[in-house]
Symmetry: C2
Subunit: 362 residues, 2 copies
Amino acid sequence: MGRIFNFNAGPAALPLEVLREVQEELLDFDGTGMSVLEISHRSPAFEKVLQDTKSDIRDLLALPEDFGIFFMAGGGSLQFSCVPYNFLSEGKVAAYADTGSFSDKAFQEAEKVGKAVKVFSSKAQGYDRVPRPEEIRLPEQCAYLHITGNNTIEGTEYFDYPETGDIPLIADMSSEILSRPFPVEKFSLIYSGAQKNIGPAGTVLVLAKKDFVAGRDKKLPVMLNYETMLDKDSLYNTPPVFAIYIVGKVAKWLKKQGGLAAVETVNRKKAALLYDLLDTYPEFYKGRAAKDSRSIMNVTFNLPSKELEAKFAEEGKQQGLGGLKGHRSVGGIRASIYNAMPLAGCEALAAFMEKFYKDNVK
Amino acid sequence: MGRIFNFNAGPAALPLEVLREVQEELLDFDGTGMSVLEISHRSPAFEKVLQDTKSDIRDLLALPEDFGIFFMAGGGSLQFSCVPYNFLSEGKVAAYADTGSFSDKAFQEAEKVGKAVKVFSSKAQGYDRVPRPEEIRLPEQCAYLHITGNNTIEGTEYFDYPETGDIPLIADMSSEILSRPFPVEKFSLIYSGAQKNIGPAGTVLVLAKKDFVAGRDKKLPVMLNYETMLDKDSLYNTPPVFAIYIVGKVAKWLKKQGGLAAVETVNRKKAALLYDLLDTYPEFYKGRAAKDSRSIMNVTFNLPSKELEAKFAEEGKQQGLGGLKGHRSVGGIRASIYNAMPLAGCEALAAFMEKFYKDNVK
């Protein structure tokens, strides 16, 4: 079959232009006579990939010089442990804003390491929203506040970030990084699994204030030590070469789109096409997220019955709209519309939703 | 330029046949209308990749049913921490055979977790050999013995494994796994970074006795917990989909070569071509490994001077023999000749060595 519109939540769609380039140069990368899958991580060819990737990401985010950029392995889930192992010391309390399944998992890993508290939770309301800044009260002796910037499963996203003053703010931005500009200087550390907006599964982008990661405990497992990863410039051990190479290509592609402000405009337009339908037919397309928390990356909703939801996902698939089934933990429908989803994909989905409504409304 | 013979130590050469298949199907995997880089790790298409890969590896190794197979992230370096975190409890002593730079790194990670001792070390002799089985004496209250099956940097390899009786034997087999048959039932757990013999950088293959990994401490960081990784069948979180997909293709390719016994025959022939030259011109090509420890994966040697070594690597490169420089920590020359290096590559290198000797001997 031909290429479909891929609404999967992650691993997710990549820009077709990027995939074509990868395909073309797969047997001989940059005149090395080797595939990029075979080159040494210490070769000049990869060194160039790594430095270009970092520099393009720095440009895209207008990242201040006091931030370091590095790549780690193990996905967001290993980061859930890295954060408390690095920053939750004896006598301190880690604060977590609980806005979804992944926030809760991050919290559970922190609890294994030391004292952790939830300073906000929307769990009882089915994780329908993120907190407003003024709702967050930090505990005494607070080590850091951890937030999940975009909640992939639930379809909610922060647009106003908490004010934490001197307390470090740490964010999991796996599903929205590089989808729009944001005030990066408010954060001490940001980690992002690549497999949604910026690349394939297999690497995590970390942006961290250099001062914040300096002075880590030498007894940390070396692969969890942010300071080592920064000091060794992602090359303490063999990094996931291929995944970083693709992140680099995606970063170049984002620059070609006009940078993050231009990308945000398109992303908001894409999301609006779908949310407009939820607002037009609220009894049929029942949005899961509170309006002011609506994610522009993951649009989640329910239909009047499970049968209709199954029919929606199946008919969508037959029309080349793949991956619309909601996460197995919550059901319903989810359209993930990351950077690589073209506007045409959301237009096609909106047209399908309009017709599906007309065909199926009672 | 055309494809070269790639003697890099890892990331390393992959079979050209595998690379061509990957290239061909890169835009549409298995009729999904998506690239394998974009498919969900919970999709039927990836589920098939994962199960086929496991089943082919089981066939190749004749792996008994009491062993589980799973994939982890973070490379060998994260495994260095996983092993003591999982198996080194209070009051126990971890034993390490120190046969190279990576053994020593593994030992250092264990020391962070609990009591660890080196029960053998060839460090003073420049890591020229691995121990004979009878040289290993295990301490009282021994948690496990950890060995490095093949020492990539030093060019030594175990062919007779220590007898540990009831004490679990754990091995890092990152650079020799699937290069020949071996008595897997002697081991409790084996881990192998994929980027040498079996795939690209980005995933680790773990073979473990199910009984051995059962009952882990629930307070372990979840991504370090072997039991969780086994129970969740490599899908606790998003695994490195693409790296596993390539490991699967390499496993199928190995079966097509006739399985591991056939692969071993070729590998031994390849190594013999090079070691024969070391034995013929021992004053010029000075082998680093003791004869009975010679690795059939990494052939390491020195030339009479650093200048000659640099000239050797450079002239080799000009003739399409890439990656011959030794590891930056030890210098010299290293030819890594993993499964994907064809016999023709070693023949070309041997011919080059013969001529280089004649042109440069005093």
